[in-house]
Amino acid sequence: MTAAAPSPFLASVARGYAALGDSLGGGAPAAEVRRAALERFLAAGLPSGRDENWKYLMLRGLARQELTFAAPGGRAQGLPEGAVALENATRLVFVNGRLDAQRSSALPAPDGVRIESLRETYRRDPELLARSLPGDDRADTRFALLNTAFVADGASIVLDAGKSPLLHVIFVSEAAEASFPRLSIRATGGATGIVVEQHLTDGLRPRFVNSLTDIEVDHGSRVDLCRLHSLGTGAMQFDTLRARVGNDSTFAMYSLGVGGDILRSDIEIGLEGSAATALLRGLLFTTGTQHHELHAEIRHAVPETTSRTLVSTVVNDSGRAVCNSKVIVAPGARRSVSEQSFRNLLLATSAEADTRPQLEIHNEDVKCSHGASTGRLDPNMLFYLESRGLDEATARALLTYAFVVDLLKAVPVAELSQALARRIAGELPARDLIKEFI
């Protein structure tokens, strides 16, 4: 049997690795892991429409594209354009996947947190890179493989004391190269911390961003991770997040997608210790022809674990939002509690939202619920506003904005939620009508 010729995309990936592989750093053991990841990726290829979780996202266009790979180089100074200003945060800026020390806050880090460049981490301990390889090659882990093949650097954050730092990790994709950002967070021993992870591009050019975030929260710790995907026009992001939550620990994440032509986020959370909790809140806001997808799989592996998922989408123009979540409760995971709730708001007749909450329960002693609603604005709210003298268009715009604001309220960094609310308000079709409410 002769294999079909590789797609331009795969061919460019192979060429890129040949050109760059040695410069990615970490020495021979790390190179071995990368090569293994590359080979698995090239053998498996891009996910196709035949893969259940990929039926809405046609990657044929991507398969025809060639990625360009180049050595990194940050040029600009100061806070990258589009980065949310967080006054009290320790800031780490990565340009095309590599640390830009000039634009980052001065290290050493504050008490209770150890920050290291992953480049250093993997050089010291290549095993850590090997451990980040996905266990299988199924479609949903394909982009984690690709990231592992090309990852050169990233942020390693270790929280290990009761102090609660605020960290802002900014991944900028500059020029037209593919970038492979990576973030690793470990919290243990009663640590708490808030991390804002922001992905952005420096202009309106084609970009390919393939990010991977690994989280471990254990022994009475809590991590709040606010992820802001705010890529520009022409950009696409394929993102993977994996989290393991241990005893008495909480992982709260806020997945906020407001930019990029394509945003695909695959989230996998394992609740592996007693009283482990996962809170997943998501907001996808699409305009134009943007296509955003959020896929979450939450596994309740042990008893007395809790997960709460609340994802809202606001879809405008001919955009599309796809939300898929699956909660799996293992046979032994008794007294588990799981909630899934999805709310979609369509602002135009050609807008589309596809939602699929799923439950796979393997024992009887659980409390699980799921619900989804797609629709229009609440007629009672509309009438109330109109009865106070607001015209219908203003009332509608205001309720749309309120829908967003209500979701953002849960975000634990006020500067972030406010900046995001303003940004979204500025992109609403009827933005001029509600200026005085913002």
């Binding site: 506003l385 109109e386 009865s387 106070r388 003298g389 607001l390 015209d391 219908e392 005085e436 409410f437």
Partner: protein
């Protein structure tokens, strides 16, 4: 000020108002009483412009205009105010921003200067004090997390700020304890003026102990079956609604 003429209203296949007629002159306070399901709330909602109801026939003239032809916001701007029986919670829309927008919509319509944020805040704080509403209210979403009584007080606060010519208060008294009832009544009384009118829709007589109406009407089966002065409300309180319903049936 308001003239309702043989109003017939239905929702779906169900007829709710059956040729209701009522005239309210400027300076008057009218109370409409009636048992559950008599059509009281429908009347209030139709007057405010709720589109779920279908007006089959009849007319409503408000200040010389065909009220039913006006959009809800046009009615509000023309000085009509509905105090809701169940004020809706709107998380994400700030109370005060809404009230300011509402007031400025009315003022603009009247050809008055819109208030700036500073002037508006001074006004609303003054009215809040009058209604004994906590300042924390300023930063909250519309009715968000309010108790039933707080929601009703908020409706009256809105009325005091907007100064409507015709206020329709739909069971504003229900669910209030005596102290809250007195505050609400105080607010309603403060609105009385010879160029304004109020229509109080209520199930019970007790609000009328504090707000003395000029006329009381009893509604049954979508029609006014008896009108009188405030003593009619006391009679209803004593005897219930059955005797009036029976009387209406016999008529």
């Amino acid at each position: 000020m308001l003239s309702i003429q043989k109003l017939v209203v239905s929702i779906g296949d169900k007829r709710i108002l059956n040729g209701l007629s009522l005239d309210i002159a400027a300076g008057e306070v009218h109370a409409v009483m009636g048992p559950n399901g008599s059509g009281k709330s429908t009347l209030a909602q139709v007057l405010a412009g709720r589109t779920e109801y279908t007006v089959q026939s009849g007319k409503v003239i408000y200040k010389g205009q065909d009220l039913l032809a006006m959009a809800p916001e046009a009615r509000a701007r023309a000085g009509l105010f509905l105090g809701f029986q169940y004020p809706v919670e709107i998380p994400g829309v700030n109370n005060v921003y809404l009230l300011k927008a509402a007031l400025n919509a009315v003022r603009k319509h009247r050809g008055e200067k819109e208030l700036d944020a500073f002037e508006f805040l001074a006004l609303v704080k003054d009215k809040m004090k009058f209604m004994q509403i906590d300042e924390a209210f300023l930063t909250r979403g519309v009715n968000e997390g309010f108790s039933g009584g707080e929601k009703k007080r908020n409706e009256i606060l809105q009325m005091l700020v907007l100064e409507p010519e015709l206020a329709i208060l739909d069971e504003t008294d229900s669910g209030l304890d005596v102290d809250a009832l007195k505050i609400v009544a105080h607010g309603i009384n403060a609105m009385r003026r010879n160029d304004r009118a109020q229509l109080l829709v209520t199930h019970y007589q007790r609000l009328l102990d504090y707000v003395v109406p000029d006329r009381v009407h009893v509604l049954a089966n979508g029609r006014i079956v008896r009108s009188g002065d405030q003593t009619l409300a006391l009679e209803v309180e004593k005897q219930g609604y059955d005797w009036l319903r029976d009387e209406a049936r016999r008529a």
